[in-house]
């Protein structure tokens, strides 16, 4: 955009400078409504929609999402569809091709068919799209969100497909992770037995979602391991030394906490439900807080700009929340094509036709790029000669991806029923419709029921199936069936009086299915430990637990460090570092220097233990808990020795050396006043345009917490919405998220919740009823009427 236009008071960015006393009230006459709708905006700019008709409420939700968050909705769905090159040019081509080749648009199309086949969700999504478009149509160029002005483009009409794309983008974030390629690389150097030790399925200190000792019923599906699996799949030591790499893997820290405590453990006798989903922290926030009241529902919570409904929240009778299951639902198969045309591949002893799907990628300032992708019985061939997974030696491998997200599903139907649920049976009915990304769905009702269910459509796998790239020529290696919902891990009204999840493995080894995944360990351990001991619980106790900075990982590991530290070998400065860790209160509070030193010491130890033996394998590092548990079990753990030196290093040597190695950088940080944990991690909420829009970010936030800690706030990742719902007669609820209701950097509502969030405070939620419209908290009113 020319600078003159960009700075024009009547057309450019000054138009986005929202008046601090802006009046949001207005009356609209719009096409597409069945009746009337009314929106009360409260002092935090949270809208409370009142409409008789479900469709009208959805229309207004779409309108409000667009009014306050249009740019992010479009940008995120463009990203999901592999269309970023249209906006920023050729530098995004590889990103776009990754999305296309993963089959993101294919997945969204499959989902949309299912959504539109159901009359309830069809009505909702059609109305939502109409609402978004009503806003886009009313928008003058001068009123475009500021990002459009910066990047010089305009919004296009919204479609139902874009809502499906939004869900697929979340699905990739939460269920798109796969270790198959690095594991396959590792097979060149390690046996399956060795890899079992480096990547154990069940950690020793696991505190699972389904309590240990639970007896599981006999599985209804017993997947059959292919006859040649031991020789050609598991046993085979691959000599090719692959260097396969998955591009754009989701952040391993995506996770969440949720729990519900029963009336038996609360002071009031009513259940309390809590949830805090951990995602990349961004401006504008991924969440938009709102309430929707119609003749069939009255739900409050957070919504995703991009889809209709309340996603995490509560209604008059129940509350619900989610954490990610972390289950692995993405596998790779190696495909042999007949020739370079890729139109036929070898499958069950015959040449089989692949479906060829051309994807046209528009590139700003350049000709279109057409990427034709072969689809097999498994799914799209993501990596092939034209898009190699191995960008080091370029050894050709055709890899098809089998991903649950490609299967037809109607996730919106779950929210349709959940937003309207009255009791456990309604919840149980609602969640069956959720396929992917599988979630730990926590529930509590006014009746006193509490439950958690790991729900989604997950394959029943034979032992070790899908950990490595599988042969793609043999149907015996395909997924053979799905675990029935009743056999998914769940807990309903337990005697312990609570249910919880924090991305840990859902059950111990007694669970009859093989369930690989990228699980966390320590947050679940800490939460269950605390909930076990708490009684007479109040919402205040739950806030304290959300904000808990106690580091269980360090609690387990610190004694190991000091047991083996040889202090006689330390300099005065190294000794000082050790003392700071020794005297540390094990809390990752903002000012704690011990937390920073502990983490650097541990990181340095990890490198010493693993680097020599594992460096040949790309992107391959056992998790932190594996090292902790290995050292707790065995001080002579075989990887301690540095294989590049003639001496045999002992655990004393490596623990001591790790501290020595970490010290210079720590001293440097101390000199620059960056050693305190909060300063070291420097919690920052970036704008979606990341470092190119730093003035739109908020950096150096005063907040503690971190990885493996209940308060999971890291550098730019953490609790993206914190909610506490006390299911008393008149519901008492609290919520806060790191952002603000407006996506406009020129609005004071852009970041209005950030400081409150960083301080660990909450807003008391105003759960409105129709009679409250004259309350003084009702600050503005919008009305919608059909033309």
């Amino acid at each position: 955009m020319p600078l003159g236009k960009f700075l024009s008071p009547q057309f450019g960015i000054w138009q986005n400078a929202e008046q601090s006393d802006n009046d949001f009230s207005c009356d609209f006459k719009v096409e597409g409504l069945n009746g009337k709708a009314e929106v009360i905006l409260d002092e935090r700019l949270v809208p409370h929609i009142f409409a008789d008709d479900d469709g009208d409420a959805s229309f207004v939700q779409g309108y409000l999402h667009a009014k306050f968050r249009l740019w992010q909705m479009e940008f995120q769905t463009h990203a999901a569809a592999g269309r970023v090159s249209e906006i920023i040019g050729e530098k995004a081509l590889s990103y776009d091709r990754t999305k296309r080749r993963l089959g993101m648009v294919f997945a969204a199309e499959n989902m949309l068919k299912a959504v539109e086949a159901n009359p309830n969700t069809k009505k909702i999504i059609d109305a939502y799209t109409a609402g978004v478009n009503a806003y886009i149509r009313s928008l003058k160029e001068s009123q475009l969100p500021i990002e459009y002005k910066l990047l010089n483009y305009k919004p296009e009409p919204w479609t139902n497909l874009k809502s499906a794309l939004f869900i697929k983008q979340m699905t990739e974030t939460l269920a798109g992770a796969a270790d198959d390629l690095p594991f396959t690389n590792a097979k060149s150097f390690f046996s399956d037995e060795e890899l079992k030790v480096l990547f154990p399925q069940v950690p020793d200190s696991l505190s699972p979602i389904v309590p240990k000792g639970t007896v599981f019923p006999t599985p209804s599906i017993i997947p059959k391991k292919p006859a040649d699996a031991d020789s050609v799949y598991l046993g085979k030591k691959d000599t090719t030394q692959n260097q396969l790499v998955d591009l754009y893997q989701p952040d391993a820290n995506n996770g969440s906490n949720n729990w519900a405590v029963a009336g038996s453990k609360t002071k009031s006798g009513a259940p309390i439900l809590c949830n805090d989903p951990h995602l990349e922290l961004s401006f504008p926030s991924i969440w938009y807080e709102m309430q929707i009241t119609t003749s069939t529902m009255n739900a409050y919570g957070v919504s995703f700009p991009g889809i209709p409904g309340i996603v995490i929240g509560f209604n008059d009778s129940v509350a619900f929340g989610f954490t990610n299951s972390q289950r692995d639902v993405r596998d790779y198969y190696e495909i042999k094509f007949r020739d370079d045309s890729r139109q036929q591949y070898w499958f069950d002893s015959a040449w089989k036709d692949a479906a060829m799907r051309p994807e046209t990628i528009k590139i700003k300032g350049k000709a279109n790029y057409i990427d034709t992708i072969a689809y097999t019985v498994f799914g799209p061939v993501m990596y092939d000669k034209s898009f190699p997974a191995d960008t080091i030696s370029f050894k050709e491998k055709n890899l098809a991806v089998r991903w649950s997200a490609h299967d037809p599903s109607n996730e919106l139907l779950m929210w349709y029923y959940l937003d309207r649920a009255k009791n456990f049976d309604d919840y149980h009915n609602a969640i069956q419709y959720f396929t992917c990304p599988s979630q730990n769905m926590v529930f509590a009702s006014k009746r006193g029921e509490i439950a958690i269910w790991q729900q989604g459509r997950m394959p029943a796998l034979w032992d070790r199936q899908g950990l490595y790239v599988m042969p793609g020529h043999d149907s015996d290696y395909m997924w053979q069936g799905y675990i029935p919902m009743e056999e998914n891990p769940h807990v309903v009204n337990p005697v312990s009086g609570y249910v919880s999840s924090a991305n840990q493995r859902p059950a111990d080894s007694a669970y009859p299915y093989f369930i690989p995944g990228k699980y966390d360990l320590y947050r679940g351990y800490a939460i269950n430990h605390r909930l076990d001991s708490l009684q007479q619980i109040t919402p205040r106790d739950m806030m304290n637990l959300h904000n808990e900075n106690y580091n269980s990982f360090a609690q387990m590991m610190r004694p190991v460090l000091f047991k083996y530290l040889d202090e006689s070998k330390l300099s005065a400065e190294e000794k000082k570092m050790a003392d700071l860790v020794r005297n540390w209160n094990l809390k990752n509070d903002f000012d704690e220097k011990g937390a920073t030193i502990y983490q650097s010491w541990f990181d340095s130890l990890e490198v010493l233990v693993w680097k020599d033996g594992l460096s040949k394998v790309r992107n391959f590092f056992p998790s932190e808990r594996t090292l902790v548990e290995a050292l707790l079990r065995d001080s002579a753990f075989r990887y301690i020795d540095d294989i590049n030196t003639p001496e045999k290093e002992t655990i004393y040597d490596v623990v001591t050396l790790a501290l020595k190695r970490a010290t210079p950088e720590l001293l440097d940080e101390d000199k620059n006043d960056r050693l305190a944990w909060g300063k070291h991690k420097n919690t920052t909420i970036y704008h979606l345009l990341r470092t190119s829009a730093m003035p739109f970010a908020r950096a150096s936030l005063h907040i503690g917490g971190g990885q493996h800690i209940v308060n999971a706030t890291q550098h730019s990742h953490g609790p993206s919405w914190k909610m506490i719902v006390h299911l008393t007669d008149k519901i008492e609820a609290y919520g806060v998220y790191p952002g603000g209701q407006s996506g406009n950097p020129g609005s004071k509502y852009y970041d209005s919740f950030v400081d409150h969030w960083a301080a660990g405070k909450y807003y008391e939620i105003w759960f409105m009823h129709t009679g409250d419209k004259l309350d003084k908290k009702a600050k503005w009113k919008m009305t919608f009427d059909k033309i």
């Binding site: 700075l7 024009s8 009547q10 450019g12 960015i13 400078a17 001068s142 500021i146």
Partner: protein
């Protein structure tokens, strides 16, 4: 007197045009037309156009920034190479409009001169 009328007319008509005509640069046409209509020597015409738009944009932006409590201007002044100074941003904004309108008026003045000579 002519100078003052030209300045005020350029500013006023540009403001109105900005409300009804969706072209950000239309004030250049306005400045040119005003210079054609109210003939002045080239230097005076330039300054009338310059001043008209400099003052118009300055006034608009100062008012908009004030009612926004400076929430946006500080961010934009950091995004552009202006060291986060909103005063600099406001000045640059007004200067751009002033220069464009000044040169448009200058063209108008030359156009009128060349026409009269014929």
């Amino acid at each position: 007197m002519k100078f003052l009328v030209a300045t005020i007319l350029t500013a006023l008509l540009s403001l109105i045009a900005g409300i009804f005509i969706p072209l950000w640069w239309f004030f250049a046409i306005v400045a040119l037309l005003v210079a054609l209509l109210i003939h002045q020597r080239s230097g005076k015409a330039f300054f009338a156009g310059f001043l008209g738009l400099f003052i118009l944009w300055l006034a608009l932006v100062v008012w908009m920034d004030g009612s926004n409590d400076g929430v946006l201007s500080v961010k934009i002044a950091s995004l552009l190479p202006l060291g986060g100074s909103k005063a600099a941003l406001i000045f640059v904004t007004a200067l751009i409009a002033g220069l464009i309108a000044g040169f448009a008026a200058l063209s108008g003045s030359y156009l009128r001169s060349s026409n009269t000579k014929k």
